[in-house]
């Protein structure tokens, strides 16, 4: 399986996606810096504590990487079906289930690692900024950092699986556009914030959606050995 994952990454030149993810992280950091230094945001107490800032960063990162994952699904899975290159892949002496599972694992692992790295990068970047600008008066303690890190890890795990939900819509007509549009709907669902209340903070929501993502992945490979290409 490791070899298949490596081949997938080689085939789709994963480095270009890593570069794109780095750029996205810099943009998110820039956005956070811009908002935090904006006086209106200060007035609305959006950046009153590290907890709050890390939560905002996590939400932005989550939204970004759910869409990012849908782009990966579109390239790695949907395009293979649409451009018929899947027929080449399915003529190799490897179970089809393994081939598709390798692709989905690339998406899940990429999203997980990218989500974590982005949270750490932007969080750290903001903490450095705060040293000079004192947007947040309190200092960053180990306990706040550890608690935020735990939340980020749990959130990233859920995000990496729920980001597979668009696969279901994309596979129906092998449409990349449907995949990306459905990912935006998922983002709207898990990244909204109404007066400080987010659906994602209800623990059942991320767990439920992550399970749904896993089910979608399972359904996509369950009968794959028996279908025509």
């Amino acid at each position: 399986m490791l070899k298949l994952i490596k081949l997938e990454m080689r085939k789709f030149r994963i480095m270009s996606y890593i570069r794109a993810a780095m750029i996205a992280n810099v943009v998110i950091l820039g956005l956070i810096c811009f908002i935090s230094l904006n006086t209106e945001a200060k007035d609305e107490m959006l950046f009153s504590s590290y907890d709050m800032v890390f939560s905002i960063i996590d939400t932005l990162v989550r939204g970004t990487y759910i869409v990012f994952a849908s782009v990966l699904i579109s390239r790695l899975v949907i395009d293979e079906f649409r451009e018929r290159s899947i027929t080449v892949l399915f003529m190799y002496p490897i179970p089809r289930k393994k081939l598709i599972a390798a692709k989905l694992l690339v998406v899940v692992l990429f999203t997980l690692v990218a989500d974590l790295a982005a949270n750490l990068f932007v969080g750290f970047g903001f903490a450095v900024l705060n040293l000079f600008t004192s947007v947040i008066p309190e200092s960053l303690t180990w306990s706040v950092a550890a608690k935020s890190l735990l939340t980020v890890v749990m959130s990233a795990l859920a995000t990496s699986f729920l980001s597979l939900i668009p696969l279901y819509f994309g596979m129906r007509k092998h449409s990349g556009a449907a995949t990306i549009v459905s990912s935006l709907i998922v983002v709207a669902l898990v990244c909204q914030n109404v007066d400080g209340f987010t659906l994602y903070s209800v623990i059942a929501v991320p767990i439920g959606l992550a399970l749904l993502g896993a089910v979608v992945a399972y359904l996509s490979i369950r009968n794959i050995e028996h279908v025509d290409c």
Binding site: K3, L7, R10, K11, R13, E83, R84, S85, T87, V88, L89, F90, M91, Y92, P93, I94, P95, E225, H226, V227, D228, C229
Partner: protein, 307 residues
């Protein structure tokens, strides 16, 4: 003789309509097996079923002596294929595509990639992205990919599409060489009769999902042998003279009243002399050779064999 591929009553239906119907193929080891048929005859579907891309509705396929099932992955390692059109990862270079192919196939002889490029005459452009390739170059690259792992069975669906006449000849020679020197069995489909005629040992004629005939080229050669065609108004009398005076019985009278003499044992001049002496009025005499096209069309039209 060992059979590499055998199909028994192979059938595939889509929404109740059979696109392949009770096809029995027998492909022998080391031969070039040509599948002939017009578009929509079911050739590609048969090939897809042999490569496990499409599952049969009924019947069975035996490859290398084993029954093909949905999970017969290991059998695929012994095949090289181009089905419908050569498909690649277009942004990757030709070499990268072949390297990936070898990795997936579990074939680790790097030299074979260079050999394959050389065999299909693509040496020097293997570092180009495939998206810059013409259709003909893609066909060559597809063949390179199919042969790079030295498969026992090569399945090529219309492999000469998009090639120029020189390219066609090169590939024809390549197929013959692969068959002769490497013992590779080749299943090739085409609607270009002349091409199949030049390389195939056995042909299968398909139409409307049915296998109309599976026949060796030796047999076809006999059926499409040279003959002398005589145009006369007295065809019955001419036939009588041929039989009585020259003892030629391998004669056929066509619907148009012409007489065709196969395996004529005497020179044409001698033949004419006897007929004229017996007062048979001759309008024209031609020496002709039946083509595979005649044979093919006669089978497709449901008639007997026309030479």
């Amino acid at each position: 003789m060992t059979h590499i591929v055998r199909t028994k009553q192979l059938t595939r239906a889509y929404r109740g309509k059979e696109v392949v119907s009770n096809v029995n193929l027998n492909i022998k080891q080391g031969e070039i097996y040509g599948m002939l048929g017009p578009n929509g005859a079911g050739k590609t579907t048969v090939m897809k079923m042999i490569t496990n891309l499409v599952k049969p509705t009924a019947g069975e396929i035996e490859i290398f002596g084993e029954r093909l099932t949905d999970t017969s992955f290991q059998l695929l390692a012994r095949m090289g294929t181009i089905i419908e059109r050569p498909i690649f990862y277009e942004k990757l270079t030709a070499r990268e595509n072949l390297e990936l192919h070898c990795e997936y196939m579990g074939y680790h002889n790097k030299k074979s990639i260079d050999e394959a490029f050389e065999l299909v005459n693509l040496k020097g452009i293997e570092k180009k992205a495939v998206k810059e390739f013409s259709l003909g170059m893609k066909q060559r690259l597809g063949i390179a990919r199919a042969i790079t792992t030295k498969p026992e069975l090569l399945i090529l669906d219309e492999p000469i599409n998009g090639l120029d006449p020189i390219g066609i000849k090169e590939l024809r020679d390549l197929f013959k060489m692969l068959c002769k020197h490497y013992g590779i069995t080749i299943l090739i489909s085409s609607h270009i009769l002349g091409e199949v005629e030049l390389i195939a040992d056995t042909i299968a004629v398909m139409n409307d999902g049915k296998l109309l005939q599976e026949v060796s080229m030796d047999h076809v050669a006999k059926q499409t042998a040279e003959y002398i065609e005589i145009t006369t108004n007295e065809s019955s009398k001419a036939a009588f003279v041929l039989e009585k005076h020259l003892h030629i019985s391998n004669v056929r009278i066509t619907d148009e009243g012409q007489i065709r003499i196969y395996d004529c044992p005497i020179p044409q001049s001698e033949l004419m002399k006897v007929l004229v002496l017996q007062d048979v009025a001759i309008e024209a005499v031609h020496k002709k050779k039946g083509s595979l096209e005649d044979y093919f069309l006669s089978i497709l039209n449901g008639g007997g064999i026309v030479a």
